[in-house]
Symmetry: C2
Subunit: 310 residues, 2 copies
C-alpha cells in the first residue's frame, strides 16, 4: 500500500506515544488501587469484585484524555488525578452493568471473565452501584485534588450530568430501545453522543474546569475537540466490532450486528464510516489550533485513539 | 388490654402526627415530580420508569426525618427540601435494584408491580443507575438549597459514604452473603447499621449539617438519636415481616425467613426484639433531651416510626 508521507510520520508519533500511555496507565493503576476499598475489609467479596473489575485491565483512555487536557491547560497530572480516577470508576461501573445478562449478557471483558461471570449477578450489580458514590466522594473530598469548593461542585455536576439520563444511562436506554429498528444517522449520533460521547466530553472538560481562569476561547476549543473525538471514538468502536479481531480486542466481535444494534457501519456502511472518522479527526485537530504547541499531547492522543486497532 | 396512661397519650400524639406526615408526603410528591426528568423527553421509557418508581407511593420516612431534624435545628422545610429529595432518590434506587431477580426477586412494592415487573430488568437497572447521579446533582446545584459550597460538599460526601460499601451497598452485600448462615446478634446489627441505618443516619445528620453553626453537643445528640432510630426501625421492619399483614404493608411478608435471612426475631426471638425496639426508642428520646421543646416533632416522628404497623 502506497502510504503518503504524513501518514507515515503520524504512525511514528503513535508508536512514541505508546510509552506515554503506558506511563499514565501505570499511574492510574496505582491511584485506583489506593482509592478502592481493600479486599480484606468487610464486605470482602464486594470489595474484591470491585478491585477485580477496576484493576488489572483497560486502556484507561478517559484518564489519558484527562491528563493530556491537563497538560494543554497548564496543570500537572497530580492536580487532576482524582478527576481521572472518578471518571474511570464510573466508566467501569457502566461496563460491569452493561455486561449483565439483562443488558448485553457478555462473558468476556478486557480479556477476562466479566464481573458477573467471575462472581455473580448480585455482586456485579452492587459493584456498579458502589463505584458510583466512590467517584462522587473523590470529587467531593480527595485531598490530592487542589480545586476550590466551587470547582469541585461544578465537577460533581458535570459528572452527574454525563452519566445521567441526558448522558450515559440515557444512551444505554436508547441503545436498548432501538435494537432491531432502522434509525436515521442523526438518531445513531444522538445515541452515541450520550452513551460514549458524554463521558469522553466530561473527561476533557472536567480537566479544563480544574483550570478555572482558562480563556473561554480555549475552553470552547476543547469543547469542540471533545465532541469530535467522542463521536469519532464511538464510530471507530463500531468499525472495530465489524472489522476487528476478538483476541486483540479482548472481547467478542460481531456482537453489535448479532444484537441488531444500529451502528454507523450498519446505517451508512464501512467506507463512509471510515471517512467520517477521518473528517472528525481533522475537526478535532483544528479545534486545538488556539493552543499551539501546548496541545501536542492531546493531538497525539487523538491520533492514537482514532488509529487504534483495538 | 390494660394500657398505661402514657401509652394512651402517645397513641393520640401519633394520630395527630398523621396530618403532619401527610403534609410532608404531599410536599415531597411535588418536589420529586419537579426534579425528575419528564416522561415526554427522550429516553421516554426510562424517564417514565423513573417517575413510576419514585412517585405515587412510599411513606417518605427519610424525608420526614430530614424535615423534623430541620425543625429541631431551626431550619425551615424549604432549606432542606433538596436534601430530602436526594435521600429519597437514593432510597428508591436501592429498592428498585434490591427488587431485581438477581437480588430479592420481588414482584410487589408499595402495593404495585416492582419496576422490573412493570417495565423490564434492563430498564429497572438503568432506573437505579440514573437516580444516583440525579441525587448528587441536586446536592451540588439545586437552587432551593441555600447551603454554602463547603456545606454542599460535606452533604455529597455524607451521602456517598451512606450509600457506598461502608453503608447501604455494603449492607446489601453482607445480606446476600449471610443468607442461611447463623449469625451472632452483633453481626446482624452491623448488617442493619449499614443496610438501613446508614441512610437513616444520613437523613438526620445531613439536615443537621445544613445548620453549620450548630452546637456540637446538639449534633452529637442527633447522632445518637439517628443511630438508635436507625437500628430500631430495622428491627421493627424485621418484626413486621414476621407479624405484619401483607395487604397493609404493600409487600409480601415472611420473605425474610423464606430466604433464610438472619434477622433480629430469627436470632433473639420476637419478644426480645420487641424489647430491644422499646429500649432503643427510649435511648433515642433521651438523646434529644438537650433540644427541649425544639425536638418535639422529631420525638413524635420517632414515636410514630417505632409504633407503626406497616
Amino acid at each position: 500500500m502506497n502510504e503518503p508521507a504524513d501518514r507515515r510520520i503520524r504512525q511514528d508519533d503513535i508508536e512514541d506515544f505508546g510509552a506515554q500511555l503506558e506511563s499514565w496507565r501505570l499511574r492510574m493503576e496505582g491511584a485506583l488501587a489506593a482509592r478502592l476499598p481493600e479486599a480484606h475489609v468487610v464486605p470482602g467479596r464486594l470489595h474484591e469484585a470491585m478491585r477485580y473489575s477496576v484493576l488489572g485491565g483497560g486502556k484507561r483512555i478517559r484518564p489519558a484524555l484527562v491528563f493530556a487536557t491537563a497538560r494543554a491547560v497548564g496543570l500537572c497530572e497530580d492536580e487532576v488525578l482524582a478527576v481521572a480516577c472518578a471518571i474511570e470508576l464510573v466508566h467501569v461501573y457502566s461496563l460491569v452493568h452493561d455486561d449483565l445478562p439483562a443488558m448485553d449478557n457478555d462473558d468476556l471483558r478486557r480479556g477476562r471473565p466479566t464481573c458477573h461471570r467471575a462472581y455473580d449477578e448480585a455482586t456485579a450489580l452492587l459493584v456498579g452501584d458502589a463505584l458510583q458514590p466512590l467517584a462522587f466522594e473523590l470529587l467531593a473530598c480527595d485531598p490530592q485534588l487542589s480545586a476550590s469548593a466551587a470547582v469541585r461542585l461544578r465537577l460533581i455536576d458535570m459528572l452527574a450530568q454525563a452519566i445521567g439520563t441526558l448522558g450515559m444511562a440515557g444512551g444505554q436506554a436508547i441503545d436498548l430501545a432501538v435494537q432491531g429498528l432502522r434509525l436515521e444517522i442523526g438518531q445513531v449520533e444522538d445515541m452515541h453522543a450520550r452513551k460514549t460521547g458524554a463521558v469522553i466530553r466530561a473527561s476533557v472538560l472536567m480537566a479544563a474546569e480544574c483550570s478555572p481562569a482558562l480563556d473561554p476561547n480555549l475552553y470552547n476549543g476543547l469543547s469542540r475537540f471533545a465532541n469530535a473525538v467522542g463521536l469519532a471514538f464511538q464510530i471507530q468502536d463500531d468499525l472495530l466490532d465489524v472489522t476487528g479481531d476478538a483476541s486483540t480486542l479482548g472481547k467478542a466481535t460481531g456482537a453489535d450486528s448479532e444484537r441488531e444494534k444500529p451502528t454507523y457501519p450498519a446505517v451508512i456502511g464501512i467506507s463512509a464510516s471510515q471517512q467520517r472518522v477521518r473528517l472528525l479527526h481533522n475537526q478535532a485537530i483544528q479545534a486545538l489550533a488556539p493552543f499551539g504547541q501546548r496541545a501536542e499531547t492531546l493531538r497525539s492522543l487523538a491520533h492514537w485513539l482514532l488509529s487504534r486497532q483495538y
